[in-house]
Structures are given as structure tokens and as C-alpha cells.
Symmetry: C2
Subunit: 364 residues, 2 copies
């Protein structure tokens, strides 16, 4: 994949979007309808379940608010692309269900993740646990607002998980296996993430494994392979794994850079949070290994967190920021190279190349 | 079902256990093997996943510890009984998978529930969030021990859910539907439970709905119907619903009595916790409606909780305790009556009658 080819894909061809892109957009529109319909139906069911009590819909509403607040829809995008580029029938409802299931699964992960990180903001709105802790306080209810808010978030996340799962009812066995692997991987990745943050483990191999797990596999490789699998093309899995693992690492490094240098207004979530929470991100792991001053800052931080402003300065000064940017470019190239010999049509190779650039160079 | 018949089932017949009971016990033994094998395989997978880091197995171990610590195995029992009494083949692996899936799903619910209730003890051992908060403190790690402990519990619960789900791969569509309903119901029941506790809603109808949801459907009706469905006998569903809903209410009332009057050593979990957490259990809802002194005690409690000792006295004095005992007996009779005309063989009717008595009159 030459730079020139890549550039071409950044602007629509003179004749407008390609048929491949149009097919993808149509599937993604149906995914939005499916999400809305699925959540509406669930809401209706609980609205009338307990006579005189409409509060049973609250967990459904918490999920729906987050789904409809937007988000990049990366996993539905990759899943639908994997399916269509493998020759799947764009009218097959199974791909719409699969892509919607991935988005609901992601909402489950986000709601629980925000409790784990005590994050106040998600997709530009207060997180579920924040919102219901605030309600508890405002109502002067009994017990602890924090426990109530986090309890609602745990249960809303659990319900999103169930709602994701019910969309996979028609998955054949191999797709069900990918669905299982993707979920377990994501959870273990999250666990190692909070544990290495707590223990302040500055181990590049572990940090990389977590990034590959959470971003490479969960966000990119498994959604693509799930899509291709549903289209009856498991042979595409190795190419998608190469693409996903390299691009996932780029994705995670970009995430780290946004966290360290980004602005909250663009990302819809707070920045500096990973740094404050002592997350040993791949970015920080590289920085700690390269510069004794970063190491000292991290070691001194203790329970009050690190001096984020000073950390930013050091990351720029030591050249780590520039080095990471160059590394991201290399990873994108490697991701695209993994598709070079894959048996997929040219328009799809261009779409996936374009997505690689967008994922790696996004601002939020 | 006469009292005499019921009595007979409390002691094994002179000739030892019936063939029905033996078949049930054999399935339940295979469920234990399946749980062990499934968890061991998952552990092996993560033990070697990250070179130099064995900590990826921690969430699996947290689940396995809880599974192997015992528990009443009520849901596997009901599911296997529903299957066998519907004429299912005792050698069919699907019933072993279904029963094991229900137990793992329950472990997911328990781990999250213990965070919601901040419960220190489960099956006689420290709860997952307690244990990992303690590890965090002992290691002097960064961040807040509570958030870390609860984070591990959230993720271990999430993983238990995935491990439950992967056992349902071979479910046909109707069974998958029951599996979905059962999970959503349980979560909404939990949510209404913590919300009515926070808001101190003394509404008997709501308290009863929660009990029917969490115990009637989740613990009894759905497991039985899932088992019968897997044996191709959806016609048994109405009888099992009648049995499950009545027995579930008895189960919940017994739970409330154990919480109010039980001893921790027997139950393997703390007692008095619901009362301290302001849970408006069916027991308390009846008591509040019957006696102004109970109402005053509940209203005064505020954030410090209620005077549990005084509450126990009042529950005895006002006759509420005796009234609840009589109500439990009536519910057990109603549960057994629901099976009277069901097309199931006599030995199974006896086993289910026996289970109703054991569930309603258990001490832990």
C-alpha cells in the first residue's frame, strides 16, 4: 500500500462514494435502527411489568442514553466491513444483529469501565454511576450515594450485556466461539489493566499485551473476523489478525496521547485520567524506560497521582511524544501491509486502509 | 398432595433412593465435573497467555473459589429435575451444560450482588471485593483499595457471565429465549431491590414483584422450564410457573427470616444485612403495614440503619414472625398443588414436593 493509494482514499472519488462504501453505510444505518428498536422493545416490556412502578425502565434508559449519545461505532464498522468484504449479503439480518451486539457489548464495557476508573464523563455526558449517585444525593435517600450510583451502573452494564447477547441468537457455532473469545479477552485485558495500574508495573511486554487484547483483538481483529466468519470466510482471519493487532496498538497509543495531551471538549470524556489513575499505558511504559526523570515522577506520585503538567513537559522534552507518533505511523503501515495479499477486492482494501488512518490519527 | 404423601418423601423409602432420585443425583454429579473442567480449562488458557505474568488467572480463580465453596445448587437442581421429569435423556450433555451455566450465572449475580450490598461474607468466605481490597491494602498499592477490590469483583462477575454463556452454545432457540428472559428479569429485580431500599419504598406489591422476579422466576420457574424445554416439553411451563411463583415467594420470606433471625455460621453469609441496608423485604413490608412501632423504627433509622435487635423483638411481639411462618406453609401447599394435575410421573412429583419443603424450611 503506497502513500499515494492511501491519500486517494481520504477524499471521495469524483463520482461520489463507491458501491462498497454505500453498502457499508446502508448496513450501518440499519444497525442504528436495530439498536433503537431493540432498546425500545426492551423498554416497553419493563414499563408495564410492575403495576404502578415505571422505574423498572431506568437501566434500559441508562443504556439507551449512552447508545444514542453517539460514539465512533468502531466495532460495528469493522464487523460490517469484515462481512461485506468477505462477500456477505448486505441484506442478511445477521450482520445487523452482530454489529448492534458489538455496540451494546461495548456500552456494557464502558459503563463498568467508568466505575473502575471513577470517570465522570462519557460521550459528553455524566457517566451512569455519577448520574445515579447524584440522584441519590438530590433525593436524600438512605445509604451511600456512591454505592447506589455504582450499583445502578453495575446492573445497567449487566443488562447491556444481556441485550447484546440476545442479538446473537442466530449465530452459528464458529461465530459464537469468536463472540466468547472476544468477551473473555476484553475482561482479562481490563483486569490486567487495573492491576498493573495499582501495582505500577512498568513492564512494556505486559502493557503491550493489554493493548493488543483490549484494542487489537476486541476492537478490530475479532469484529472483522466475526463479520468474515458470518459471511462464511474464516480464511480471512489471519490477515485480519495482522491488521487488527498492529492497528490496535496504534489505536491504544493514540488513546494515550489523547489522554496525555488532548482536550476534553473534543473527546467527550475527561483527559489526563489514565495518568491520574497511574495507568501504566504503553506510552508511559516507553517514557519510564527512556527517561529517569519520568521514572522518578511516577515513583514519587504515590496516592495523590502524578504531576500531569510536568509529565506532559517531560514527554515532549524527551522526544517520547515524537517517537510515539513515528511508531504509530509504522504500525499503520504494518496493518495495511497485512491486507496486501489478502483475497479481498480493491475497494475494500481501500476502505480498510482509510479506516486504519482514521483510527490512528483521530482526535477523540 | 396430602400431608401424608409429603411426609413419605422426607425419608428415603425402605429400598433406598428411587430411580428418579438416582438419575437426578447422577446428573448433578456430572454438573460438578463440568464446572470443574470448564473452569480448569479457562484457567489453563490464561495461565500461559501473558509470558511472565500468571496474574491473568485471578478472575478465573475468584470464580472457581466461589463455585467450589459449595452453595445449595438450587438452580442446577431445578433445571435437572425439570429436564428429567419431562422425560429428557439423562445422558444428554445439554442438561449438564444448562445446569452448570445456571450455577455460573448465579455466581456472576452473587459477586455483583455482594458489591451492591457491600457484603463481607459469601459461602463462608470473604467476598471477592473484600478479598481484593484487602490484598490492595496489604501490598500498599496505588489508588483506593475499595475501588480496586470492587473493580476485581465487577470483572470476575463479568467473566463468570461469559463462562456461563459459553455453556449455552448448543441451546436451541426456545431455550435461548428462556435463558435471555431469566437474565434480564434477575437484573431488573436486583435494580428495583436496591432502588426501593434506597427510597425506603414500603409497597407490598413492589416487594412481592421483586421476590417473584428474583426467587420465583430466576431460581425456580425458569430453571425448571429451561430443563423441560430442553427435553422438548414446553407444555410443562404453566405448572412450573405456578409452582415457581408460589415457592419463590416462600423462598424469599424464608430468606428474610434467616436474615432477621438467623445465625451467620449456618448461612455462610452475614445476617441482619438486609435490615441494616434498609431493604424493604416482603417481611418488613408486612411488618410496617401491621404495626406503627415498626413503621416508626424504619422511619427513624436514617443513614445509621435500624435498631436490629429492637426490630427482631417487634417482629416476634406483633406476631408478624408467626404470621409469615403460616404464610410460608400456605405458599408451599399452593406450589405443590400447582403440580397436582401436571402430566409428570409420581416419583417426580414427590421429588419436587420434597424440594419445596426443603427450600421453604431451610436454615441457611
Amino acid at each position: 500500500m503506497t502513500t499515494q493509494t492511501t491519500q486517494t482514499t481520504h477524499t471521495a472519488p469524483a463520482g461520489g462514494p463507491t458501491p462498497a462504501r454505500e453498502a457499508l453505510d446502508r448496513v450501518l444505518e440499519r444497525v442504528e435502527d436495530r439498536l433503537r428498536g431493540h432498546l425500545d422493545r426492551e423498554r416497553d416490556q419493563w414499563a408495564t411489568a410492575v403495576t404502578g412502578h415505571t422505574s423498572a425502565v431506568i437501566p434500559v434508559d441508562a443504556i439507551a442514553d449512552l447508545v444514542h449519545a453517539g460514539g465512533k461505532r468502531l466495532r460495528p464498522n469493522f464487523c460490517a466491513s469484515g462481512f461485506l468484504c468477505a462477500g456477505g449479503d448486505p441484506d442478511d439480518p445477521v450482520i445487523v444483529d452482530a454489529a448492534a451486539a458489538l455496540e451494546l457489548l461495548h456500552v456494557f464495557a464502558l459503563i463498568h469501565d467508568d466505575v473502575l476508573d471513577d470517570s465522570p464523563l462519557r460521550r459528553g455526558k455524566p457517566t451512569v454511576h455519577e448520574r445515579y449517585a447524584a440522584e441519590h444525593r438530590a433525593m436524600g435517600w438512605r445509604g451511600e450515594p456512591r454505592r447506589f450510583g455504582e450499583g445502578v451502573a453495575i446492573l445497567a452494564g449487566d443488562l447491556a450485556y444481556v441485550l447484546a447477547d440476545t442479538l446473537t441468537a442466530d449465530f452459528p457455532a464458529p461465530a459464537r466461539e469468536i463472540w466468547g473469545e472476544l468477551r473473555a479477552e476484553m475482561i482479562i485485558g481490563q483486569f490486567l489493566d487495573i492491576r498493573s495500574a495499582a501495582a505500577a508495573t512498568a513492564d512494556m511486554r505486559l502493557a503491550r499485551w493489554i493493548a493488543v487484547c483490549k484494542s487489537g483483538h476486541y476492537t478490530i481483529h475479532r469484529p472483522l473476523t466475526l463479520g468474515a466468519g458470518l459471511a462464511g470466510r474464516p480464511d480471512l482471519a489471519p490477515a485480519f489478525e495482522g491488521y487488527g493487532v498492529a492497528l490496535g496498538e496504534a489505536f491504544q497509543l493514540r488513546d494515550d496521547l489523547i489522554d496525555a495531551f488532548g482536550v476534553s471538549a473534543t473527546s467527550g470524556k475527561p483527559v489526563g485520567l489514565d495518568v491520574d489513575q497511574h495507568k501504566m499505558t504503553p506510552l508511559l511504559t516507553v517514557a519510564v524506560e527512556r527517561d529517569a526523570r519520568v521514572r522518578a515522577l511516577v515513583d514519587e506520585g504515590g496516592d495523590e497521582g502524578w504531576d500531569t503538567a510536568r509529565l506532559r513537559e517531560l514527554l515532549a522534552e524527551t522526544g517520547v511524544r515524537a517517537e510515539i507518533e513515528a511508531h504509530i505511523d509504522g504500525l499503520v503501515e504494518r496493518a495495511c501491509a497485512a491486507l496486501a495479499d489478502a483475497p479481498i477486492e480493491e475497494p475494500w482494501r481501500r476502505i480498510l486502509t482509510d479506516m486504519a488512518h482514521r483510527v490512528a490519527h483521530r482526535e477523540s
